[in-house]
């Protein structure tokens, strides 16, 4: 699904080019849940932008779905640390925003509006926001806004979901709750996910593979498969193989930060 081959990217910084990524290689299979971890500023968000076609690599090739990426990929859903909901739209209208842009929904948006609304309501049910469709975003708590933001990134049934620290601003309980929401949605739809996170437990709980990046300029220095049986229960987080994995990941990143 995703293939980065020796990709480098330099931003035109104020005082000369800033090399954010250098020689990054990564492969994510269709339907795989991949997590990317690494020290702050190592180029994780940059990696996401490359994959979704928002920036072009300075060197190397980015392929999505077998095709070289030359512009916005048009099939990705994205969610970030901030929910970025539009305050002048109700929750359900926010969810329908992607449908106003992506084909084939876009062309028949007017005629099928009711159908799409029902689709949105159903998605809200799955994340525990039943009945909140007609509220405005500011009437929701931070965690609820984040759920709505997840729904918005999923409404057009994207083949690829890009998540950049979507749970980082939440409290521990809400976060674990949303892990389970994410797990259930993914088990059901099996789209490809790239999740950037600072939370190693989150990566270990959700992902099939964890890619560890070096300090800037970022490179993938290690990819690990996580083979806990699915569907995973939150209890797995307290098993000793899990804590061992988290521990190794932690040491690896500490090591990278030193270098």
């Amino acid at each position: 699904m995703i293939e980065l081959d020796n990709v480098s990217l330099a931003y035109a910084g104020r005082t000369g080019p800033v090399l954010a990524l250098e020689g990054a290689d990564i492969k994510v299979a269709k339907g795989e849940f991949a997590a990317v971890v690494g020290p702050s500023g190592c180029g994780k968000s940059t990696l996401m932008k490359l994959v979704s076609g928002l920036v072009k690599p300075t060197k190397g090739v980015v392929k999505v779905n077998g095709y070289q990426v030359n512009g916005p990929v048009k099939l990705a859903g994205m969610a970030f640390q901030n929910s970025n909901l539009l305050p002048w739209r109700t929750v359900i209208e926010n969810l329908m925003l992607p449908l106003e842009i992506v084909e084939p929904y876009r062309s028949n948006f007017r005629s099928k509006k009711d159908e799409y609304r029902a689709k949105g309501e159903k998605l809200l049910d799955t994340v525990g926001l039943t009945g909140f469709g007609d509220r405005f975003p500011w009437e929701l708590s931070g965690g609820m806004q984040q759920r709505a933001s997840l729904c918005r990134s999923l409404i057009h049934e994207p083949a690829l979901l890009m998540l950049d620290e979507p749970f980082a601003a939440l409290d521990a309980f809400t976060r674990e709750e949303l892990w389970c929401v994410m797990r259930d949605v993914w088990e059901r739809l099996r789209f490809t996910v790239v999740l950037v996170t600072h939370d190693l437990r989150e990566a270990a709980f959700l992902a099939d593979t964890i890619h560890i990046m070096s300090a800037r300029p970022g490179r993938i220095i290690e990819s690990r498969t996580v083979d806990f049986a699915r569907p995973r229960d939150l209890d797995v987080c307290y098993s000793s193989p899990f804590t061992d994995l988290v521990h190794t990941l932690r040491n690896k990143i500490a090591e990278v930060r030193q270098a």
Partner: protein, 256 residues
Amino acid sequence: MNRNVETLAPWLFTIAIFVVWELICRLFNVSSIILPAPSEIFQAAIRFWGPLMRNSWVTLWTTLAGFLMAVAFGLLLGLFVGWSRTIYRGLYPVMIGFNSIPKVAVVPILVMWFGIGEIPAILTAFLISFFPIVVNVATGLATIEPELEDVLRALGASKLDVMRKVGIPRAMPYFFGSLKVAITLAFVGAVVSETIAANAGLGHLMTQAGSNFQMPLVFAGLLALAVLGIGMYAITAWIEGRMTGWAFRSQQSAGG
């Protein structure tokens, strides 16, 4: 109960100011050439009711004409400037430079071009008031959260889509907020221009009355200006509240 006091307070204060003013004029025997008492001003207002109304009307429509031109032009230019961050960065200093020219200095030029009359007043009102509209609309557009733009572009949204779905609705509170400022400035522009060169309007009436030493009439003109100014401000403020309620309510929310 408390609410009532709060809504009444501005009226009470206004009346109190007039009462104190009247008292000062009477106690210290202030000459009406220096500072006429409110009672004299109201008398003058009644005596010259016709001319006051006629000139108020001229000032009102020149202000509104200039203001509407400023709204149309300001919206268009604001959309253009805010369209891309590059244009925004490039044009912003130019506009600041333009805005720092005192527009009063332009009035004589306008008079030379268009002659004495309403047109210089309209144009001054326009020139002085379009700037805050441009800046506000452009800022509203140019400060779209980059992440939100990424979300939309990753879906294949064009620049026009981003502007229609996010930029323009987002700029609306900025736009309506700037109307309050713009109408006040347009009013200032129109009156200043009338004072310098016109044959109608409250500014003209006041200069005429001043040169005839009819101070009560000058102050009656001032009073008319205050009423007009407050009225126009109140209407734009009301429109702002009606059109962009979500912006106020979302600011009060905890979730941000």
